[in-house]
Amino acid sequence: MSYLRTPLSKAKGLGSAKTGTEHFWMQRITALALIPLVIWFCMSLAFLPDANYATVVSWLSSPFNAVLMIITLIAGFYHGALGMQIIFEDYISTHSTRIIAIIISNLVLFFFAALGVFSVLKISISG
């Protein structure tokens, strides 16, 4: 599409970062994935007989539950990171502040996603 750009826009080098479609698409894909996952998550927790350590660990030790929990975390954090990015892009008008906010948001969310996934693995393998 470069032939449609003006010489000024070429010189400035701004414009599409070429990942907008993927952002939009992945937000929808993770949303779709989260529909059954959210139902599973809420119903599983609601139907737990109690919240004792043994009960919780044995529930997360099941490979089925562990995998679904990991997938829920990944889809959820991915969906959340994409959403937060849109909010920063919409409401922070200063370019540098916006970029910094998005980077910090992504790094923090990546850390907590890793923390959650690792914790589930540890519980399910050693628990």
Partner: protein
């Protein structure tokens, strides 16, 4: 036109009465942010389970308190709202239900479904 002119300039956020559909849209973003924070809490809870029985006991004490229940019920309603309204967004994405009449109907449906799902889930938890 001078500044002494009292006529309204344009529908500004502070004087413009948002239609119900616009309010739901704002709430969708708000709940999205809250749920992202909720995911961070979920990872911390999972990390506490992975850290052993005593760590989980402290966290479970907090969760089982009246304050913990209040927070959990609020998160349940927040999640179901974003869930229901998100499904509505997915229908809109494929071009279904975009006319005003359908949008009003689905607005009511989203609000009713949120309440029903939240009550249903907590009936399972408490009884």
């Amino acid at each position: 036109m001078s500044w002494t002119d009292k006529r309204p300039l344009s529908p500004h956020l502070q004087i413009y009465k948002l239609p119900i559909t616009a309010k739901l849209s704002v709430i969708h973003r708000g709940t999205g942010v809250v749920l992202t924070l909720g995911l961070i809490l979920l990872s911390m809870v999972l990390a506490s389970i992975a850290s052993g029985e005593s760590a989980w006991a402290s966290v479970n004490w907090l969760i089982s308190s009246w304050f913990g229940y209040l927070v959990l019920i609020a998160f349940t309603a927040t999640l179901y709202y974003h869930f229901c309204n998100g499904i509505r967004h997915l229908f809109w994405d494929v071009g279904k239900g975009l006319d005003l009449e359908s949008a009003k109907k689905s607005t009511a449906l989203v609000l009713i479904a949120t309440v029903v799902l939240t009550v249903f889930t907590w009936v399972i938890v408490l009884f």
